[in-house]
């Protein structure tokens, strides 16, 4: 076998063309890894707040909280079920919330965008113990005070600590705190008092959704059967984990599809780049290849050697692309969640699987792009070693 150091050093020797081709590969791998990381980030953000023992109750036929409405009287009925856990005082662990979307001017001057407002009851922090007010203080019940999620903060005009904005015309609210929830999608929301939001948006007769914490995840089926079986209620029950997964599906699939489509188109360009680089390399090294053939190296060992060289080129580009994509770990990305129609801020989520897949994809591109030049190299006759041949 021709030693791999021959190929590695040949790439270094032609560093200008090598770098140009490797950068092409790096770009493709970067785009692919970035889109997969974003898709994974979206899934992570939207699904991580789901708990297996929490059920979300929506109006039958509603896909999301935004389109759902549950009557006030039904909130009490749902919460009273025996499968629902209770706190120390015997009160059911449940929250009825109103979710609305408002349009708000963005602070960076890039027009307006949708902002999700959640009207929450007093016991919301007890119900969601992972949510912590990290700056300022919680909003007082029954007031026009709100708290904003860490990722929504500072993105819209007035949506920042100690500032004020209007939920709707003539309904100003004061931001008194900032909350965090391990990067979940709640962090892209504004939480206000349930009654204030209800009044402001004409939802006095009910809530968007009811969440209940069950005594155990195993009670989910019994609770679902009981609620959905009551034809008068016309309600539907989802485990919170399933609900969030469903919510993330559309956006995640869109980003995935877009990213992979762009990567595939780019990869054609990168493969042509590798093809041209390797063809040029084979043409320049005709005498070298002829000499190797004269010394007794077979066609197949020349073919393998040049495929390896192309693979090295692609993997080098791939590693570069993945490193660049890793840099995106520090970037926050906001986009519309198609299920809630609100802007949600996501992070790029690099997982080992994504990084390895992206490099392998680059490697495959290299082998495909390098195949025909390698075949040409293998066809160089040994007589090419001689002068004038």
């Amino acid at each position: 076998m021709i030693p791999l150091r021959y190929n590695a050093r040949s790439l270094v020797r032609r560093r200008t063309t090598t770098i140009a081709a490797a950068l092409g590969m790096a770009l493709v791998v970067f785009v692919l890894a970035a889109s997969l990381m974003l898709s994974s980030g979206i899934k992570k953000t939207l699904t991580q707040s789901g708990r297996p023992n929490v059920a979300i109750v929506l109006r039958k036929g509603s896909d999301a909280e935004l389109a759902s409405g549950v009557e006030k009287a039904h909130v009490a009925l749902v919460s009273a079920r025996e499968e629902v856990a209770r706190d120390g005082s015997g009160a059911p662990l449940s929250v009825g919330e109103v979710v609305v979307v408002i349009t708000q001017e963005k602070i960076d001057g890039n027009g307006i965008s949708n902002l999700s407002i959640r009207g929450v009851p007093e016991n919301v922090y007890a119900f969601r113990p992972t949510v912590k007010v990290t700056e300022g203080r919680p909003a007082r019940p029954g007031t026009d005070e709100v708290v904003v999620g860490k990722r929504a903060r500072g993105r819209f005009k007035g949506v920042d600590l100690n500032k004020a904005f209007e939920l709707k015309k003539n309904l100003p609210v004061q931001v008194v705190g900032v909350f965090e929830d391990d990067g979940s999608s709640y962090e892209s929301e504004v939480w206000g008092d349930l009654e204030t939001v209800r009044r402001g948006f004409g939802r006095e007769d009910g809530v968007s959704s009811v969440r209940v914490q069950l005594t155990s995840p195993e009670k989910m089926d019994a609770f679902k059967t009981a609620i959905e079986g009551d034809k008068q209620l016309q309600l539907e029950v989802f485990p919170e984990t399933t609900y969030f997964e469903k919510m993330s599906e559309g956006t995640s699939a869109f980003v995935n599809g877009l990213g992979i489509t762009i990567a595939v188109f780019f990869s054609i360009g990168a493969m042509i780049g590798a093809l041209i680089t390797m063809y040029a390399s084979v043409a320049q090294r005709r005498k070298e290849i002829g000499t190797l053939r004269a010394l007794g190296f077979s066609r197949s060992s020349i073919l393998f050697s040049f495929l390896m060289e192309s693979l090295m080129l692609a993997v080098a580009g791939g590693v570069l692309g993945v490193l660049a994509a890793l840099g995106l770990g520090f970037v926050k990305f906001s986009m519309m969640n198609f299920a809630s129609w609100a802007e949600v801020t996501f992070s790029f989520n690099p997982t080992p699987e994504i990084l390895v897949f992206a490099v392998v994809f680059g490697g495959i591109m290299g082998v495909i792009g390098g195949f025909f030049p390698a075949v040409r190299a293998a066809r160089v006759p040994p007589i090419a070693a001689m002068r004038g041949a």
Binding site: Y6, S298, P382, G388
Partner: protein, 232 residues
């Protein structure tokens, strides 16, 4: 490389019989060698001379198994070179022929030692044994201290000596040299010719050398002249 006393390969005799080589320029045939016959006895040092286009390099290529005759046969030692398949021929070359080129043909990205080691990569020798043999070959050509140098760090004469080390490292029975002194100054050329003579006399190698240089031809046992595809 083995020493002369323990040379693994016997010297090869060469029999070229009624060899014709025709090249095509478009559809037009060009006969470069015309029913040529040549006999080289084992251990002989033969110089092939002649004007450009006389067919001497073509003849060398046929003897070395780099090309096949259009008609006729080439026998080297016990092997009928002209009848071998491509892969068979590659294997035969790796075991029986050492090549010396006018432009040295070293791999620019490999060190002197790595260049010399190349033909041994086709054997089953261990890495350590390959290295040892490559160092021995470099010692024979007087370049042991240049083993880690790249071709660009060597003079033309030194590059050609590395090429000779590569040619002998497999202990082949036949060495073919194509204008081995063509790119060298007189002093370096003389050193190379002395080395070739030594390989012939001390190590018993059969050598076929194409040259334009009368001084080079003088070192050979026999000089054969080609003209228009015929030996004179």
């Amino acid at each position: 490389m083995s020493t002369a006393a323990s040379s693994a390969h016997a010297s090869a005799g060469i029999t070229v019989r009624d060899v014709t080589k025709v090249f095509y320029r478009g559809k037009e045939p060009l006969t470069v060698l015309d029913k040529l016959n040549l006999e080289v006895t084992p251990g002989q040092f033969v110089a092939l001379m002649g004007p450009s286009g006389s067919g001497k390099s073509t003849l060398l290529n046929l003897i070395a198994g780099l090309d096949r005759p259009s008609q006729g046969s080439v026998q080297v030692g016990q092997s009928s070179v002209s009848n071998m398949a491509d892969s068979e021929l590659a294997k035969w070359r790796s075991q029986n022929v050492g090549f010396i080129f006018q432009t040295y043909n070293l791999m620019p990205v490999l060190t002197a030692l790595e260049n010399v080691e190349l033909p041994l990569l086709l054997t089953k020798l261990s890495g350590a044994e390959r290295k040892k043999r490559a160092q021995t070959a470099l010692r024979v050509v007087g370049l042991e201290d240049r083993s880690t140098h790249y071709p660009r760090q060597l003079s033309g004469g030194q590059e050609q000596r590395v090429a000779i080390a590569r040619a002998i490292v497999n202990d082949p029975s036949l060495i073919v040299a194509d204008e081995p002194t063509g790119d060298l100054d007189r002093q370096s050329a003389d050193d190379i010719l002395t080395l070739l003579t030594k390989l012939n006399t001390d190590f018993g190698k059969t050598i076929v050398m194409v040259t334009h240089d009368p001084a080079a031809a003088e070192r050979a046992n026999v000089t054969r002249r080609l003209n228009k595809g015929q030996l004179s």
